[in-house]
């Protein structure tokens, strides 16, 4: 027998007012391709709209801060590779500079310029990944396939310089392990020649693309005051309209000698973050060109490390033929050199924000405490506030435009 109902049973307004709203719980992650890493968002959904988000991180926590307390400094470099693995050389250089600051090692100008070449290449590689993935998440796969060739080329440059590609372990405390080879210079110069055109091509695919603009403009917008309260740095903060850049505010590694502009956005939305990164790549290209010019102007073409016998390995020929060099080599490799007591905080402009190292030494052979300021860890906590009330597909786009890297979240 059919249930007897009132005539207004199917009335839409009545249903809206009286029926309890049905919310769904949606798990995004831990290993969903759209999350770009191993982390989870448990979202409470009202249809397509996000009511609230609960984040779970820590799936690939590897206890770097604890491991660093037992290792000599040169063995901490490979740990920093695995923080933001999209731009490992930046982390390596930042760590070397932190140790140099604690030990008071002055690096030669040539080392600074070589480092700047590498750091800006790493920044470009990181921005390439982030920006092309914004395209992928908005449904435009083509740009991604174009740009990954160029990222591959940057990895080939890394390979020429240090022998490895993703987790580079590049350089040493005080400089580099070897001079750049002629092949490496050739590749860097070739990259500067062909990349601007490729970048332009990528930009024309997305920048004025109506679909891309509709998907990104005013999506995931975050006001500047909230961004500051949440500790945003890097392109995410600059997209909100503040020109904070560590390279300019607290210059390190001779950045004060370089001419470049800091691109800023206005609304702090996904489109602004995309455009800020796009413009930063062009600025990085100009910085690399300036560094090459400065290197050409230097008379010295051979120096690639600071001469500090306590922490810089002597050349191999000397180790074989000279007893003092052998002793120093042994002491450094076995980690038997004492570090002066003290504490320093050093930060560099990483690809996605201010990457800081707080290093405390009590005079022993290893650090007594090392804390990484990981920009991704700090700004990712604003994500629930950014996506509340937006649609799920926009939330995915917002996440990829924030450049959250799982390795950096979890340390």
């Amino acid at each position: 027998m059919a249930k007897e109902v009132n005539s207004d049973y199917w009335d839409k307004d009545r249903v809206k007012a009286e029926e309890p709203k049905e919310y769904n719980t949606l798990n995004v992650g831990p290993t969903h391709p759209a999350t770009h890493g191993v982390f989870q968002n448990i979202m409470l959904m009202d249809g397509e709209y996000i009511v609230s988000t609960e984040q779970t991180i820590g799936y690939i926590h590897r206890a770097f801060e604890k491991i660093a307390e037992r290792r000599p400094f040169y063995q901490i470099t490979p740990l920093t590779d695995r923080l933001n693995y999209c731009s490992a050389p930046l982390n390596n250089m930042g760590w070397h500079m932190t140790v140099e600051k604690l030990l008071g090692i002055e690096t030669p100008k040539r080392v600074d310029y070589l480092r700047i070449v590498i750091m800006e290449l790493a920044r470009i590689a990181d921005h390439i990944i982030c920006n092309s993935v914004i395209g992928v998440d908005s449904g435009a796969l083509t740009g991604f396939t174009y740009m990954f060739q160029d990222r591959e080329f940057i990895y080939e440059i890394y390979e020429e310089i240090c022998g490895s590609r993703l987790t580079t372990n590049m350089g040493r405390i005080g400089g580099f392990e070897r001079n750049f080879s002629p092949k490496a210079w050739e590749k860097i110069k070739y990259f500067l020649e062909f990349f601007p055109a490729k970048l332009k091509e990528f930009e024309t695919l997305l920048m004025r693309n109506r679909i891309f603009m509709d998907r990104t403009i005013n999506v995931g917008a975050f006001p500047l005051d909230r961004a500051l309260a949440y500790g945003f740095t890097g392109p995410n903060l600059r997209a909100c309209g503040l020109d904070y850049d560590v390279r300019v505010m607290n210059p390190y590694c001779s950045y004060e000698e370089f001419e470049f502009t800091i691109p800023v956005g206005q609304n702090g939305d996904t489109y602004d973050r995309f455009m800020v990164r796009q413009e930063e790549m062009k600025q990085s290209l100009s910085i690399i060109q300036q560094a090459l010019d400065k290197l050409d102007a230097l008379e010295d073409k051979e120096t690639y490390y600071a001469r500090d016998p306590r922490f810089v390995l002597p050349p191999k020929e000397k180790v074989y033929n000279n007893m003092e060099a052998l002793i120093w080599h042994f002491k450094i490799v076995m980690g038997e050199t004492d570090i002066p007591a003290g504490e320093v905080y050093h930060c560099i402009e990483g690809a996605n924000g201010e990457l800081g190292f707080y290093l405390v030494s009590d005079g022993g052979r290893t650090a007594s405490r090392l804390h990484f300021r990981r920009p991704g860890f700090i700004y990712y906590q604003a994500y629930p506030e950014m996506v509340q009330g937006t649609m799920l597909s926009d939330a995915i786009l917002t996440m990829s435009s924030m450049n959250v890297i799982a390795g950096e979240l979890d340390a």
Partner: protein, 169 residues
Amino acid sequence: MFEIIPERDQFAIAKLTSSFATAIDHHELMKDMLCITVKKESIAEILLFLRDDKELQYNFLTTLCGMHYPEKDQLGVVYHLHSFVNNHRIRLKTATLISDPTIPSATSVWPTANWMERETYDFFGIQFVGHPNLTRILNVDDMVDFPLRKEFPLEDQTRDDKDDSQFGR
């Protein structure tokens, strides 16, 4: 490198001591920046004062991390503040006894302190009073220890209670 601006350092100390004379233990100029050690009871008010004072404007919490001083039986928290307006950085330190590991939370001053304090709790077991959701963040939820404390040594290479013969060692 951070520029050390002695006038700024002097100004910050003078301003702080005039408002919180009893709360400041000592201050020293370290290699890279000014470091002020304060009593834990007034850390939240001091952070709020440093953020809102019209002349100081340390408006940005760069980072916050825990410390363990086993020789003093203390746990500590180190705050790095940055004034974007004056481009000046300072370091604030505070400490508490291990037997009473409570420190006022900075989450009401900066929401970004939320995860930083959770991480510090996770690794050092410092209880941040006033934190909205003080749970573990990187380690598993049912962990009982606080692994960055010094009583947990990393594996010693010279230990002999492990049989590595299966691995050819």
